[in-house]
């Protein structure tokens, strides 16, 4: 955007940048419409203003992160019960890794953490989570492979209560949202936990791969239908993908982005920062 006045050409360029960041045509058109309206209203808008306005408009579309876990990993009041987080998403997006990182953050913040190995399906999924548990030095409740995930979740929440844990995080097997049986299974896992704690899970965290394109919108829709997703985590933003699809998702479903994954190490989890995210959409890398 290197001109002094907003015209057709500048807006075209803007469209290219946004679409390349996976923002999607629909949301891109929405953003450009908003800008055009402001430009018409404010009469003269130079490019330096455009830059600022653009970032503001995009941030406006995105949901504020309200409630739940705070940026410093302090937890809301759950009446003495552990705060239960259920982690869901399609295959290979980074659920188990995000759980390992989250567990480490809570642990560092002085919280007592319990993990539940609810992926009893994918080869060595239980072992993978147990290694993360060992790294952080926290217990992992498991029933081994090929067992009922709902029963693992039930036990993990129960153990969490018994042990006076502050947080229980339940891993689930990756599943494509098109598989009805597997989506129903999530609903069941969720329901079973409520036998232990009424309000559980307090948080349903949908993990999205930052390099996913427009399919992420459908993922958000279908997982929300099955489990009432309350927050998003976006992974693999350490690559060249921009993750722009979450703008439309956050706007359409009013679900805030809470965390981003920026690597494979335990410390590579960040609390989502809207401004930084929007800035990164326009950076070259």
């Amino acid at each position: 955007v290197g001109k002094s006045k907003v015209d057709e050409e500048v807006l075209d360029e803007l469209e290219t940048v946004l679409v390349h960041a996976d923002v999607g045509i629909g949301t891109t058109v929405k953003i450009i419409d908003r800008i055009e309206k402001r430009v018409a209203r404010d009469k003269y808008v130079g490019t330096s203003d455009l830059d600022r306005i653009l970032r503001e408009e995009i941030m406006d579309l995105m949901e504020e992160n309200t409630g739940g876990v705070a940026a410093d990993f302090t937890l809301p009041d759950t009446g003495g019960n552990p705060y239960v987080i259920m982690v869901v998403g399609v295959n290979g997006v980074g659920k188990t890794t995000t759980i390992g990182k989250l567990a480490s953050q809570f642990h560092k913040a002085g919280k007592k953490v319990v993990l539940g190995a609810g992926d009893t399906f994918r080869a060595a999924a239980v072992d993978q989570l147990k290694i993360w548990g060992d790294r952080v030095g926290i217990p992992v409740i498991d029933h081994g492979m090929n067992t009922d995930p709902a029963s693992v979740a039930y036990d993990a929440v129960k153990k969490g209560v018994e042990m006076g844990a502050d947080v229980v995080i339940i891993d689930t097997a990756g599943r494509l949202h098109t598989k009805v049986g597997l989506m129903n299974e999530l609903t069941k896992i969720k329901r079973v936990m409520q036998k232990v704690i009424d309000a559980a899970p307090h948080e349903v965290l949908l993990v999205l791969d930052g390099s996913t394109g427009q399919n992420a919108v459908i993922q958000a829709r279908e997982f929300t239908k099955a489990t009432e997703v309350t927050a998003l985590a976006v992974t693999k933003l350490d690559g060249t993908a921009k993750g722009g699809v979450i703008i439309g998702i956050s706007d359409e479903f009013k679900i805030p982005v809470k965390y981003i994954g920026v690597g494979e190490r335990v410390e590579d989890l960040q609390v989502f920062d809207k401004r930084e995210f929007v800035d990164s959409l326009f950076s070259k890398k």
């Binding site: 629909g26 290979g92 997006v93 494509l176 690559g239």
Partner: protein, 295 residues
């Protein structure tokens, strides 16, 4: 979306017909609709532009302006062009050699380890002696994961649990496959980002050390605009022979297939359609074109 595109194109042409003759400007309008549909299907923006320019030329050349149902002809042209772009002559996996060495590479979580198990299963069923080797020394339980899959499909498994050197593990694995008279050895590697210089050097070094018969790049079909960057960088570093497109059992349009093909000109050799070891298929360009268009 195909319904959508089809009706949109029909409508665009119909209004025009009422006004007399269809002009080049009107075609440009419908071309814009096609481009949008492609980008919605995650085809890279630049690639979509190039493709639709070609479609436009084709449409003009085939007299879409005077066709009885220009909308339908347009859709036909789009489908044909996409098919051709992803097609060319069909190329199978090369497993000539004793043993044939297949190297698997790609981004994190794309489906490499699962595909390694599937390919082993596929080749074993053709009566070939297969071994798989675990060269991912980073991801927790990566070795166990491949071990489980190897047992499931009943092929030999090679790992060095104490080693942190994937290059040397790969080299030793190939030696081992030779000694034990295997027909094919498949090397699973860690997921890596194209911008991770050290990890890209590592996969290059593995390739240099074992000189594979076939190097396959595994891509998640849900990948968005970034697919071209990744494919380009991996291709520059390891000059892969073919592409594997995974997770096509979902409802992603798979526009990445078109983008990658257009950018690196390497054939897509397999598609992965599930978590089970049997869920492996060959790639058919016309079906993929239909999928991208939502037909």
């Amino acid at each position: 979306m195909f319904e959508n595109l089809s009706t949109k194109l029909d409508r665009a042409f119909k209004t025009l017909k009422g006004q007399g003759s269809i002009t080049e400007i009107n075609v440009a309008q419908t071309i814009k609709e096609v481009r949008r549909a492609l980008v919605d299907a995650d085809v890279n923006y630049k690639v979509a532009k190039t493709v639709t320019d070609k479609i436009k030329d084709e449409a003009m050349g085939r007299d879409v302006l005077i066709a009885v149902s220009p909308g339908q002809l347009m859709v036909k042209i789009v489908h044909e062009e996409l098919t051709e772009l992803m097609g060319g002559e069909k190329k199978d996996i090369n497993i000539n050699g004793s043993p044939a060495i297949v190297l698997i590479a790609g981004l994190q979580g794309s489906g490499k380890t699962t595909f390694t198990g599937k390919l082993a299963n596929f080749l074993k069923r053709q009566g070939k002696g297969v071994m798989v080797a675990a060269c991912d020394v980073y991801r927790p339980a990566a070795i166990d994961q491949l071990n489980v899959l190897a047992d499931q499909v009943g092929v030999d498994f090679y790992a060095e649990r104490e080693s942190k050197d994937p290059v040397s593990i790969a080299r030793n694995a190939v030696e081992h496959a030779k000694r034990t008279g295997k027909k094919v050895i498949i090397i699973d590697t860690a997921g890596r980002l194209a911008v991770d210089e050290a990890m890209m050097q590592e996969i290059y070094d593995i390739k240099e050390a074992i000189r594979p018969t076939e190097t396959l790049f595994v891509v998640d079909s849900m990948t968005g605009q970034d697919a071209v960057n990744t494919a380009k960088t991996f291709n520059e570093r390891i000059n892969f022979d073919g592409v594997v497109l995974t997770k096509l059992d979902g409802d992603s349009r798979g526009g990445a297939a078109l983008s990658i093909r257009a950018v690196v000109e390497k054939p897509i050799k397999f598609i992965s359609t599930g978590e089970k070891m049997e869920a492996l298929d060959l790639f058919y360009p016309d079906r993929m074109a239909q999928r991208i268009l939502g037909m």
